[in-house]
Symmetry: C2
Subunit: 357 residues, 2 copies
DNA sequence: GGAGTTTTCCGAAACGTTTCGGAAAAAGGC
DNA sequence: GCCTTTTTCCGAAACGTTTCGGAAAACTCC
């Protein structure tokens, strides 16, 4: 469609404009209404005119303006993705990105676009969660990386009529669901594996108290011990705050208290990396003198020396399922508001039997 | 604002609706026009009424509906981000993600939202690039990961009136710009470093012919050799197709032809990983018997054994600059359509002097 | 105190859709 | 041929903004 006068957008002159429904109507010699109804499959339009209109629309490469559509339909076919630690730290980033890929793939399959909000506690002061959603009129939101102390979380729970799904935060309600991994069994499997390898003095490095997943993982640890009739000892557990340094600190604290420790499971691979670094500096050899197991299976895990044995989370699947759940909720389908994904112990090199002698 | 009758969205009853400009007008006892002009800072409204309206808008937490706005303004304040290898492969993903973070940060600083399109050659058949943009009415696009064979690329170049910036593809024109890293000097620095360490027989593993960045990197390799009066030998160069296996294949081919090779620079860290794996299997010790240098500095690079010496690309900065450039173009500011970022050789452990004897 | 200016406000059209209610046209029935 | 039913179409309102052109009100000036 060539319009008579160029319009200006910034410094760009746009001569070729997208045709509107009006253009199609004119070209087809019918009313706007008829074009709309023809294209949207309503039964009250003659099949001949319908196909004529369809062909024309195709030829003129007509696409309905989504702004106009959503204005009247009150539906944007857009979901917001809020990732709070959208950070340049590439190590953490990889995890979120895989989740994002899953979200993106499923969304586009179901004909939703995703719009990405990055946020941080600072931003959360200025603009509330609902402002964010309302301004852009997203149909629903997926949130990842929220801490229990983040202001947004409160809002999500309060305004539970607005569809949202949380990743790794176990809140469920009218309009809010969540997807997470089976944290209990993940850590239990790790502990079991170590026990099978002959370990009895097993430490645990968790994330932080405020995170829900960490409570579950601690349960998994306790469960694993219990199954082998090993008594749980709180002094064998430290929080590493999901950071490399935190992991390093934690392991040295634990080892000073319990030099007899022969194995440690960590609540994230990042912390496991810190642990390995620290152990190396202490002259301990892995897994000869001490075994290490991580959690997540980030890409680095298979490149370390020794390669890290870890519990793999299906990150892509998490995003995929989150998108599915959210869109189900948006479109009013009945749906479980809680999805717990399986995970799997990936056995590599960092955990093994103790060397005799 | 409480409306009288609940509206239905899917299965959710929404009692609390966002107030519209009409609600504010009614509450303030003025016309819609005045509210709009008051809020948008026009001079033809009394300061008293302006502040009254502003307070009211604040109190009722009014936010203009962005769909309605963009419908009349023909501007969405949204930029599209098309990442073609938005894949679940987490190793490659990290790179794109960091770029994305940069884009996201700068965009939100400049008050743009980003909407994420993932694509693949298959999807590109169904929906053209311009369809994608027009349907969602994005103001501009950033594209990353496009191959020279991707249909979209042709379109970007053809419709150059639509603002777009490419990452790592050197196309510039009326409305299209690009940002990349200084590929020539990056590789040259790597070669220089090796020469300073005493190496003379230096191989080069590139990506593939069709990629523009690879031509530059090859130039950098040749330049580095030339500066040391080493003659360029094409049989010391192989394409590794940016994959781990490709890197492994490449190094074994090169070594079979040139067993005297003592150092190799790779056009990506991924390939360097493959090279290191292959060399290990061949019983070669790095860097004792052969040195390896990578390109990118992905997170894994600092966790391998030995730690990978590599040319760091500022991935976050790439995204940041790309967003800046695009928004400059959208808003009609004059701007350079080409940005070349510096990079830096990060010296770790995988490249060193040859061991005597 | 009236004309001219300035300040402050508003009505209405426009953006591109969807959809309700109804009207025109065609078909059916006798 | 006339009434009824069905099929096919359309006008107009609505969604929530922005903005043009003008009007009312308030000042200024002599």
């Amino acid at each position: 469609m060539i319009v008579a006068l160029p319009k200006r957008f910034g410094k760009f002159e746009v001569f070729y404009m997208s045709p509107t429904i009006k253009d199609i109507a004119k070209a087809a010699g019918v009313s706007i209404t008829t074009v709309s109804r023809a294209l949207n499959g309503y039964p009250d339009v003659n099949e001949k005119t319908r196909s004529r209109i369809k062909k024309l629309a195709e030829k003129m490469s007509y696409h309905p303006n989504s702004q106009a559509q959503s204005l009247v339909l009150k539906k944007t076919n857009t979901i917001g993705v809020i990732i709070s630690e959208l950070t340049r730290d590439s190590v953490k980033a990889a995890f979120s990105f895989e989740v994002l890929c899953g979200i993106s793939d499923r969304s586009s399959e179901l004909n939703y676009d995703i719009i990405l909000f990055s946020t941080n506690p600072n931003k959360q002061m200025n603009k509330t969660y609902s402002d964010l959603c309302r301004e852009r009129n997203v149909d629903g939101v997926i949130l990842k990386g929220l801490k229990t102390t983040d202001p947004y979380l409160r809002e999500v729970i309060d305004q539970s009529s607005f569809p949202s799904v949380l990743i790794d935060i176990p809140v469920a309600g009218e309009g809010v669901g969540h997807v997470t991994t089976d944290n209990v069994s993940g850590v239990r499997d790790a502990v079991r594996h170590l026990i099978q390898l002959g370990h009895r003095n097993i430490a645990f490095i968790n994330g932080y108290k405020e995170a829900a997943i960490c409570a579950d993982r601690l349960s998994g640890y306790m469960l694993g011990l219990q199954e082998a009739d090993i008594t749980y000892d709180v002094s064998r557990v430290e929080d590493g705050r999901f950071s490399e340094e935190g992991g390093a600190d934690a392991i040295s604290k634990i080892l000073s208290r319990h030099p007899e420790t022969t194995a440690v499971v960590c609540s994230s691979d990042i912390m496991a990396l810190g642990v390995m670094k620290e152990l190396e500096q202490m002259g301990r050899v892995i897994p000869g003198s001490i075994s290490v197991i991580g959690f997540d299976d980030i890409s680095i895990a298979s490149y370390t020396t020794p390669k890290l044995t870890t519990v793999r989370q299906e990150k892509y699947e998490m995003g995929y399922q989150a998108a599915q759940m959210l869109i189900d909720m948006i479109e009013g389908r009945n749906v479980k508001h809680k999805i717990v994904l399986d995970n799997q112990l990936i056995i590599r090199e960092s955990a093994d039997r103790l060397q005799k002698g």
